[in-house]
């Protein structure tokens, strides 16, 4: 520490206020308010009343909410699984000396920096069921082409594909960073002990990556629960949610209830459920860090 005595409050506040104002008004206060509003039937007007847990009861009893929650969980499971597996696989490959390594690293990470709206529009063209290049190719090969975004059973799958396409490179970069922290001498020691490639991966790489792996899974789950842009753009905008509501994820339901129907109380209750999920995942990450993660290998 720079000095032993505390800095004067005026100086501290002058440095702190620029970020603190935004934090208090637009992050912390809304978190608290979400709980409060969720207990009312607030609809934007001056007259509203306390309804207790009514919104939550209504949500858990409604098909729309249960459907949204189920879809979000399915989306989360598949995207997280593929993002982590592909991210890990390509990190391991591109951590070795391969030709064009910088090109491949850059290319695989690239979609992550692009607008999800532009990406969504591009894939709408590619997955166009009738005239899109993909289905024309499938037809040419004699394969019966799926309806992709227009199909009740394929719409969510298509969104999953696009999401994985756009973001597995992010996890690859995280894992590449993690691989740098593993002590090289551990590999040499393992090799001297006669450990094969699989054994080395299980005993050195995986334990060494465990903090990053754990962090990545946490981030990936939280991000998957936030999915919205792709659903909005690719399956029909404000009135959308896909064929037969097949892509009406949780945030989309919050958006529709809050901003199309102005049921702020009900949408706030749905937000509280989302906050609860985030809290539980973060808590597990926090506790699990100490229990399941190996730090001593680093």
């Amino acid at each position: 520490m720079a000095s032993n005595k505390n800095t004067s409050w005026w100086i501290v506040l002058s440095f702190l206020l620029p970020s603190l104002i935004g934090f208090l008004i637009f992050i912390l206060a809304p978190i608290g308010m979400a709980f409060g509003i969720s207990l009312t039937n607030f609809a934007g007007g001056p007259r509203f009343r306390f309804v207790g847990l009514g919104n939550f009861m209504q949500a858990f009893g409604s098909d729309a909410f249960r459907n949204s929650f189920r879809i979000t969980v399915v989306f989360t499971v598949w995207t997280v699984l593929f993002q982590i597996i592909l991210g890990m696989a390509f990190a391991l490959i591109l951590n070795r000396k391969v030709i064009l390594r910088t090109f491949f690293r850059g290319t695989l990470f690239l979609p992550n920096v692009l607008s999800s709206i532009a990406v969504g529009l591009a894939f709408m063209l590619i997955f166009d069921p009738r005239r899109g290049p993909l289905n024309q190719l499938l037809q040419y090969w004699g394969i019966h082409p799926p309806l992709w975004l227009s199909g009740e059973h394929t719409a969510l799958l298509t969104i999953i594909i696009v999401t994985v396409w756009q973001s597995f490179g992010y996890y690859m970069v995280l894992f590449l960073g993690g691989l740098q922290t593993i002590n090289r001498s551990l590999y040499e020691a393992a090799e001297i002990d006669g450990a094969g490639a699989v054994r080395r991966f299980l005993s050195v790489t995986l334990p060494g990556l465990s903090p990053i792996l754990f962090y990545s899974i946490t981030i990936a789950i939280i991000r998957a629960f936030q999915v919205f842009d792709q659903v909005y753009i690719m399956t029909g905008g404000q009135l959308g949610g896909g064929p037969a509501g097949a892509t009406s994820v949780l945030v989309f339901d919050i958006y529709r209830n809050g901003f199309a129907q102005f049921r702020f109380g009900y949408a706030a209750a749905e937000s509280v459920v989302l906050l609860g999920v985030v809290f539980v995942i973060t808590f597990i990450q926090y506790r699990g860090q100490t229990r399941w993660v190996t730090y001593d290998v680093v």
């Binding site: 978190i31 695989l108 992010y170």
Partner: protein, 278 residues
């Protein structure tokens, strides 16, 4: 001497490794090539099969069709992104200084709150945040986006980590010479922290240039809309605008791609910094 079988196996392994790398790179780049090539195709060539990468008769028609609304959207996006990047740079660096080089009660606790807020998705607090913004009369204005975007836990964390690597002895010496905290911050810390400030600038640029959710909530007037918002309007209208859609996508992707090409290091460093240290 390696046996013949082992050598064959190695060779097959290497071949499949490169095959998977090139195939994946193809899958990543193909949609982007489709965007660029379709942007310059006349309507009747867009769905041709087999698809041509180089348009037979390249045209700027698709861009001309954007001329009515999109210059405004692009201008709004540029203006807003620039504002938010500057504001975030100020809030994040001053905050980082308070958390790394000043001593005060409750510092570690408040920093923990900042870090924890990184986990809270904007979508989970959008209802109350929107009500606050509407209550203070900033709904449907660019101010709504600048103010709600002013705080960045990520940026504060990123810059704080960097400030901590700058030895306290530099600052002590300046304090003994009678320099104020503001002078130390502006003349010592900021110049030393240029690389991490670049990372922060690139991160917030990328985020707000692409941001869709907050503008969707806060902007309704046609003349205030940003580029992603304008593109979304397009998509929900009808399928006949595919050419102009791709032209708009091209415009939206181009600046980020160019910056990525020349400053890939900063993008990657930002991701890795949070991952490894967080």
């Amino acid at each position: 001497m390696m046996s013949f079988r082992v050598r064959i196996l190695r060779w097959v392994g290497k071949l499949s490794l490169y095959a998977s790398l090139f195939f994946t790179a193809f899958l990543i780049l193909m949609p982007l090539i489709v965007v660029v090539s379709t942007a310059f195709k006349p309507d009747d060539q867009i769905y041709e099969f087999p698809m041509r990468i180089i348009p037979r008769t390249p045209t700027l028609d698709n861009f001309v069709k954007l001329a009515q609304n999109f210059p405004r959207y692009i201008w709004n996006s540029c203006k807003l992104t620039l504002w938010i990047v500057v504001v975030q740079l100020v809030t994040a660096s001053t905050g980082a200084y308070a958390f790394s080089k000043l001593r005060w009660k409750g510092r570690d606790f408040l920093f923990l709150l900042y870090i924890l807020s990184m986990m809270v998705p904007i979508q989970a607090i959008i209802i109350p945040q929107f009500l606050i913004v509407r209550h203070v009369g900033l709904y449907d204005s660019h101010w709504a986006l600048v103010l709600t975007g002013s705080f960045t836990a990520f940026g504060t964390f990123l810059i704080k980590q960097y400030f901590m690597t700058i030895p306290d002895s530099y600052i002590e010496a300046a304090r003994i010479d009678g320099a104020s905290e503001y002078a130390i911050f502006l003349r010592i810390m900021i110049p030393l922290a240029k690389p991490v400030l670049a990372t922060q600038v690139i991160f917030s640029f990328r985020y707000f240039w692409n941001d869709f959710f907050a503008p969707l909530i806060y902007l309704t007037s046609q003349h205030l809309k940003t580029l992603p918002l304008g593109m979304a309007d397009f998509a929900t209208e009808t399928y006949t605008y595919v050419g102009p859609q791709m032209a708009a996508s091209f415009i939206s992707i181009l600046p980020v791609m160019l910056i990525f090409l020349f400053a890939q290091r900063y993008f990657v460093e930002g991701v890795a910094a949070v991952g490894v240290k967080g």
